[in-house]
Amino acid sequence: VAIGVEHYLVLSSILFVIGTIGVITRRNIIIVLMSIELMLNSANLAFVAFSKVLGDMTGHVFMIMSITFAAAEVAVGLALVVSVYTHRESLNIDILKMLKG
């Protein structure tokens, strides 16, 4: 079976939905962060796939930038997680609702 752009897109969508469900359903902050990474990577996959099909390097550039930002985001995100844990002694995301209206 020849691997076409459709396969990449289906894989990307599956990864994105898994990530979304992870963000919505899991309570552990670390898992939520991981799910977000999954969503980002699904998007990167779609970028690269289209880039390849259309023969345009712009998609690659976006993907590389996105990975860079994701690295920074993870660094800040994990630092926040550590800080939250030292204050609250819990990683449950539902206790962080001080900004409730």
């Binding site: 979304t20 963000v23 919505i24 359903t25 309570r27 939520v32 995301i93 539902d94 962080l96 609702k97 001080m98 900004l99 409730k100 209206g101």
Partner: protein, 657 residues
């Protein structure tokens, strides 16, 4: 030089105010109070002395010029350049403003010196001199300004200084209230005045005195503007003068203004500020002379005021209140003269009145000072033995204002009465004649009750009665001399030979170039001769004196006999209650105004505030519903975003497909 006449008092006010009254001297430099008082007195009087000397120098240099060239104009800078409307800070020294400046600075200087003695004990000594210097500054701006806006600046400035000084002892609620009353009543007059100024600019396209008056006197220009405009302008300006110069119906602030320190009453509410209206109308003689309607209004209101105030003065028991009503009545004389077009006579009375009324007020101040604050003449009597100098100078002032021959008041009053009858205002002349009689009556009554007969001073105060310090008595003596001889600068023509003055009516000749007067046509003959008019006014004055002497010295029992007569006792009570004018104003103006205010406040609170609060209530209600969406649970937000994004995609797909 001209500018320094005005700036010197301002400098005095600034230094006194910023260095001493602000407490900088005491707290920051750490100077003691004794030195402070010495510096403040020296500075306060010194700056006025400088401006008095400078205005005298200017007066002498004015005399060297030919009568028609007697104008010194100094422009400082363009103040408001705005299209067609441009106003300069520009001062004018011509015979009219010269007379005013000399009166203001010299009388002002004497009163400053007097204040050193009078206010010596006061703890706000430097604040007092700050206000006093500030007043002189604004008064000089008023009389020397060369356009209407600058005149108005001075006009409002003296109002401010007057307010500050009436309420000088502001801890006393009644006194602070009197200051407020003066300010608010004056506001009513100023409203008319400022509309008058707008109208002048609208009609003449300028506010500069020489531009406006040269156009107003140009027959070609007058012909093209509506005839009633000049009358309207004249009447609006008169409304301003009615407020500032305490004429009926806006005179009610002046008696209350006596709450201020007595030298203030002498300076502001007798000698200078209240005459600003007369000065302004003399300056605008070009309008009044051309409007017979305005003239009749002015002269009628003035005559009514003179009589009304004199009738109130007769029964008052407060020494300063008597003098206050007397001031209103004398201002009535000035306005009568101005109303009939005899501006020089009005200004002449302004000058002599400044002499003798300042003298009387300062004399009253000296009495109050020696009696430790007592103002009720029923608790005086026989003071001549204790404070002879004050009582003799007071007697001079009394005789001068009563119109006793050959003192200053006699000549000026006679000229006004003469000009009334010369121009055919017979009814007004009769009213003025009655007022002469009443003036003599109430002034002699005041003198007798305060200084003659047995003493009614309570025993505890009696031992302390003392003559005032030199700082107070020397100004009294100088003013007494001026009250006696001041009239000889303006002896009427026909009397010149009789009183042995070689050149009669110097004063009128001097101010004439500033005034616009229509020469009387020869067809108007005197109904009575000059001398018989004079004789009648002397007789009126003598009748007044005689009644007072009879009632209060010869036969005091007759007072009770008179009071038993129903009519006389009713008149007495009405006069004592000041014709209930304050009560009438209270019930027809103040009370309705208050109830309107209460309704307006209610409208504001319930309808306007209600609308504003209603809008905010709606916002709060909406927000409280929408707020429930913001749970604070992050997973909920993520789900919402995901569903939202999905919905958008679905929508796009459906609408595209």
């Amino acid at each position: 030089v001209l500018v320094w006449v005005i700036l010197a008092p301002l400098l005095g006010a600034l230094i006194n105010g910023l260095v001493f009254a602000s407490g900088f001297w005491k707290r920051v430099i750490g100077g003691d109070e004794h030195t402070e008082k010495r510096i403040v007195s020296f500075l306060g009087c010194g700056v006025i002395f400088i401006s008095a000397i400078l205005s005298s120098i200017l007066f002498l240099s004015l005399l060297e010029l030919a009568p028609s060239d007697r104008r010194i104009v100094q422009e400082l800078y363009l103040w408001i350049p705005s299209g067609d409307f441009s106003v300069s800070i520009e001062f004018l020294f011509d015979p009219l403003s010269c007379v005013m400046a000399l009166v203001v600075t010299w009388i002002g200087f004497l009163i400053h010196v007097y204040s050193i003695g009078y206010m010596h004990e006061d703890r706000s000594y430097s604040r007092y001199f700050t206000y006093l210097n500030l007043f002189i500054f604004f008064m000089l701006v008023l009389v020397l300004g060369n356009n209407f806006p600058l005149l108005f600046v001075g006009w409002e400035g003296v109002g401010l200084a007057s307010y500050l000084l009436i309420g000088f002892w502001y801890e006393d609620y009644e006194k602070a209230r009197a200051g407020k009353k003066a300010f608010i009543v004056n506001r009513i007059g100023d409203f008319g005045f400022i509309i008058g100024i707008f109208l002048i600019f609208y009609v003449f396209g300028s506010t500069n005195f020489s531009d406006v008056f040269s156009k107003a006197l140009d027959p070609a220009f007058i012909r093209v503007i509506p005839g009633a405009l000049i009358t309207v302008i004249a009447l609006l300006l008169f409304v301003g003068a009615v407020g500032k110069s305490a004429q009926f119906p806006l005179y009610v602030w002046l008696p209350d203004a006596m709450a201020g320190p007595t030298p203030v009453s002498a300076l502001i509410h007798a000698a200078t500020m209240v005459t600003a209206g007369a000065y302004m109308m003399a300056r605008c003689s070009a309008f009044y002379t051309q409007s017979p309607t305005a003239q009749i209004v002015v002269v009628s209101i003035a005559a009514f005021t003179a009589l009304l105030a004199a009738s109130m003065a007769i029964t008052q028991n407060d020494i300063k209140k008597v003098l206050a009503y007397s001031t209103i009545s004398q201002l009535g004389y000035m306005f009568m003269a101005i109303g009939v077009g005899a501006y020089a006579a009005g200004l002449f009375h302004l000058v002599t009145h400044a002499f003798f009324k300042a003298l009387l007020f300062l004399g009253a101040g000296s009495v109050i000072h020696s009696l430790a604050g007592e103002q009720d003449i029923r608790k005086m009597g026989g003071l001549r033995r204790y404070i002879p100098l004050t009582s003799y100078t007071f007697l001079v002032g009394t005789l001068a204002i009563a119109g006793i021959p050959f003192l200053s008041g006699f000549f000026s009053k006679d000229e006004i009465l003469g000009s009334l009858i010369e121009r055919g205002f017979v009814i007004h002349w009769i009213i003025a004649l009655i007022t002469v009689c009443l003036t003599a009556l109430y002034m002699i009554r005041l003198y007798i009750l305060a200084f003659e007969g047995g003493t009614r001073v309570p025993v505890p105060i009696k031992g302390h009665i003392h003559e005032s310090p030199y700082a107070m008595t020397i100004p009294l003596i100088i003013l007494a001399i001026l009250s006696i001889f001041g009239g000889y600068i303006g002896v009427p023509d026909f009397m010149g030979m009789a009183v042995g003055v070689p050149q009669s009516n110097i004063f009128e000749g001097f101010v004439a170039p500033s005034l616009y007067v229509v020469e009387l046509s020869s067809s108007i003959h005197h109904i009575l001769g000059h001398w018989s008019v004079t004789l009648l006014s002397i007789i009126a004055a003598v009748i007044g004196v005689a009644i007072a002497v009879y009632l209060y010295i010869v036969n005091p029992v007759s007072q009770q006999t008179l009071m038993r007569n129903n009519l006389i006792s009713t008149v007495y009570r009405v006069s004592y209650a000041k014709w209930f004018v304050d009560e009438i104003y209270d019930s027809i103006i103040v009370k309705p105004f208050n109830s309107i205010s209460i309704w307006a406040a209610r409208f504001d609170l319930e309808i306007i505030d209600g609308a504003v609060n209603g809008i905010s209530d709606v916002v709060i209600l909406t927000a409280s519903i929408l707020r429930s969406a913001q749970t604070g649970i992050l997973r909920f937000y993520a789900a919402a975003m995901a569903i939202g994004a999905l919905a958008i995609i679905v929508y796009i797909v459906i609408s595209a497909g």
